[in-house]
Point group: C2
Chain length 565, copies 2
Amino acid sequence: MNTQRIIIVGGVAGGMSAATRLRRLIEDAEIVVLERGGHVSFANCGLPYYLGGVIEKRDSLLLQTPASLGSRFGLDVRVNHEVTAIDRSAKTVRVRDLVTGEQTVERYDALVLSPGAAPVRPPIPGGERMLTLRDIEDVDVAMSALSAAPRTALVIGAGFIGLEMVENLVHRGLEVTVVELGDQVLPPLDPEMAGPVAQRLRDEGVDVRLGTQVTELGPDTATLSDGTVVSAEFVLASIGVRPETSLAVAAGIELGSRGGIRVDDQLRTSDPSIYAIGDAVEKTDAVSGEQRLVALAGLANRHGRLVADVISGKTIRVRDAFGTAVVGVMGLTIVATGWNEKLLRAKGRDIRVIHTHPASHTGYYPGAESMSLKLIVDATTDEILGAQGVGGDGVDKRIDVISTAMAGGLTAADLADLELAYAPQFSSAKDPVNMLGYVDLNAVEGLTRSIQWHELAEELEAGAVLIDVRTPREYADGAIPGSINIPLDDLRARIAEIPERRLVVHCKVGQRGHTAVRILAQLGRDAVNLDGGYLTWSAGISARHSAAQHGADDQRASAETRAAA
Amino acid sequence: MNTQRIIIVGGVAGGMSAATRLRRLIEDAEIVVLERGGHVSFANCGLPYYLGGVIEKRDSLLLQTPASLGSRFGLDVRVNHEVTAIDRSAKTVRVRDLVTGEQTVERYDALVLSPGAAPVRPPIPGGERMLTLRDIEDVDVAMSALSAAPRTALVIGAGFIGLEMVENLVHRGLEVTVVELGDQVLPPLDPEMAGPVAQRLRDEGVDVRLGTQVTELGPDTATLSDGTVVSAEFVLASIGVRPETSLAVAAGIELGSRGGIRVDDQLRTSDPSIYAIGDAVEKTDAVSGEQRLVALAGLANRHGRLVADVISGKTIRVRDAFGTAVVGVMGLTIVATGWNEKLLRAKGRDIRVIHTHPASHTGYYPGAESMSLKLIVDATTDEILGAQGVGGDGVDKRIDVISTAMAGGLTAADLADLELAYAPQFSSAKDPVNMLGYVDLNAVEGLTRSIQWHELAEELEAGAVLIDVRTPREYADGAIPGSINIPLDDLRARIAEIPERRLVVHCKVGQRGHTAVRILAQLGRDAVNLDGGYLTWSAGISARHSAAQHGADDQRASAETRAAA
């Protein structure tokens, strides 16, 4: 009997999950892992925190070694070994030992490509000194640069990983500027959700530049597209990653429409002996059914295990990807899954949007923290299309529950019925996720119509009257220009004061607004609730204002911020 | 047009949710809430924490007043008003004003019963001084008793609420004894999950007496069923609640098989003009389809809203109940949903049980806390029947995800595919819930067979060889009697040492054991993994030992604890 020989290109996350699972499935297979870098199975998601000093020991990042994997799983793990070419007809790969320079040819029966994705480096004059953070070698270079004790840092890109870098450089005591080409931080979020994150960064002393590019790097400065020059002794780029496809392309393996390696539902590339997994591979989006690039460790690990199953002869089912993600920034937890409102509106989808501002647990038990949640729903089917959250304790719990509901095919209204664990220090009798379901039900049943913060200006222009049902004290502390204050508890008594016109009502978060709409509607009035209340409106308008201030060209923003001034 | 008149009996949780929802649905209805106690809408789940001083202000417990509910929702809320009889043919209730003694008769078109459940008081000589905790009046009495500065307290009953009482009395500085008739604390859990909770209580100085009753109360002592006398200056009973059905029974309304008010799928009692919700009502169990009493605030609130929908003319769908619950005890978070192993085995269900001991987040990021999870699955369909968890940070998150998966009809294997939010401080790339799915998949696919901690003795008796694949150092620190230590990494090399017999392998938590079983099975051996490893086995055996020590009569316990000694 010929022993099966399996070669895996790339020994992190997906690649190593595949290798260890393969051993558990096929004891007598020869399993060779070829890793270009000097380490396998390292904690790539921990790199920013090692940079920031939160993770103190470099060894903590090194979860396995070639020796430990060899003894436990009988794997032939070779670091500093780069696969330079695939000969598909001969079923061989050419391998270069990056230490000795020696070249060898290795035979395979099955080949698994798990090369990952490389950080994109913006092409900037002087950009040679710009660092990126992908592997242990990168983090060693960055730590060495930080040992020169720079006082200022520039982070290019304000996505999830970019903000982790900012967080950690601030934690190290550096003065940090973050430059983002888009008009908000955290592009997967909608602006009214991302706005408070940018505000928090600014409150913590970070210089956040939106709608801005770096045009040139000097020895310890950076010139920005608005002409300003900022101090930037340490520069890190985090503007995204690009799938590592050169090896596949050179071998004639097909790519997909998004530039990643295309695989079928059994993780096979266009060559049936070659499989691919991880960040280099396109996934199927769970919401749109389209192909998508999504670089997430969870999916890489999961697909690593699945590809081992396929190679061992099983038939697998690869689930479509929602892209659930979380990041911690300056004490805020920020989460997202599925699609955002921006993308869905751009696609012309008929959606319903819900904003809430609940507490992490009952208000009467000490330590409750506030959060903002957003749910995006198909207006016809009530399918959950996406969700976002920003806040303190318990935000990660709520996105995991929603993501699970999406995987289970539950509708938004079904969220009302979820039985979530409740004691006063953990939640409320109606958990924030239940509340999203309740609000959705009110819309489904036609009880309360609502409008979004970005639709208010148009409503007012068309002649609607805006009624603020908060208390006079809340109103005095800040109100939407042009609103009339009639507290909820006075609404029935003062109904004669309210003009017989289209009415938009609002409170702080939307809950009293809902009751007000019910009162007005039952009294025969045409009333809608401002979804998410004053808090969502303020966050949205501030985000626009901030984007406009920092160069983002948005007509609506300048119009509304004038109105809000 | 006649105005509809709706009377609601009971103004807490379900009753008040019904009332406020009714107002939002029917602006012109007359809605009368009759509450026997002095307060409505108070924070009943907060009472133990007010007792313990965690919630400092009594006012924090009073969420609404009759006046605030009157002005906002136009509700006629009458506290200290007891409904003493229902005349179903006349559609009236007789009401007594408990302050003035005045009796009136009130007409209704629809009547909602939300009377709740009363704490059960064990009939003990001297038991008059025993307190219970249901409402504000009770907590006032208890606070008054505590103001006399007792040094010792006795809590009767170690269920979820009983342990909240223990926690809070310890927090106040009292020396606490807790007495439980059953052979473990927290009866909804299985013994190996509850054992570590009892241990934590003992570590914190609580005197935990299992398999024990209080037989008599003296002025400041209690006599227990084992003859010992303990100091008990303050005595609180928490042995469960009994549905308040006397009003319904007197009116000829039917009860269900469990002694709660029986309602149909539209929350109607046997009288179509009378509805019932909350703790007094039987629910349908989501796992068994049987009727069940389950006293949970979330369900009461949900059903309150639903009954309002029915009364306003909608058709509702009431979901079956899983009974998801959480409690915090001495820094541990303890959760459960669905059915436990004890009950399912007693019913003869063919089940698969999985124990894991994951960390709350990646080990390389500081502050990870350990937890123990248990998943119980239908062996044929892979349906999730129940789950339990004990540990630190993030246990509540995992039960909420599992509960949501159950609601969405996901199988245990589907848990592997959940996309849960991952960054190093929040989870692992394979979240603990994913890992439960991975372990289940290994069983579904027949890769690794496992046995439970309580099945080990029988295996060994039948001649199986027990192999401990942990490191020599782990083995030296404590091992299962009779086991042979062959570390996982040496297993292939030392295969000749292993007898050709039935093999049970184990590690610390079950993961290395799984790899060992795969190696042995592929080498042609008959090997099974001890599920949950040494940790689960130790917890189970300790729980038995502790139960036996404290009088619980369990032959297996004494046999196994001798073996473990």
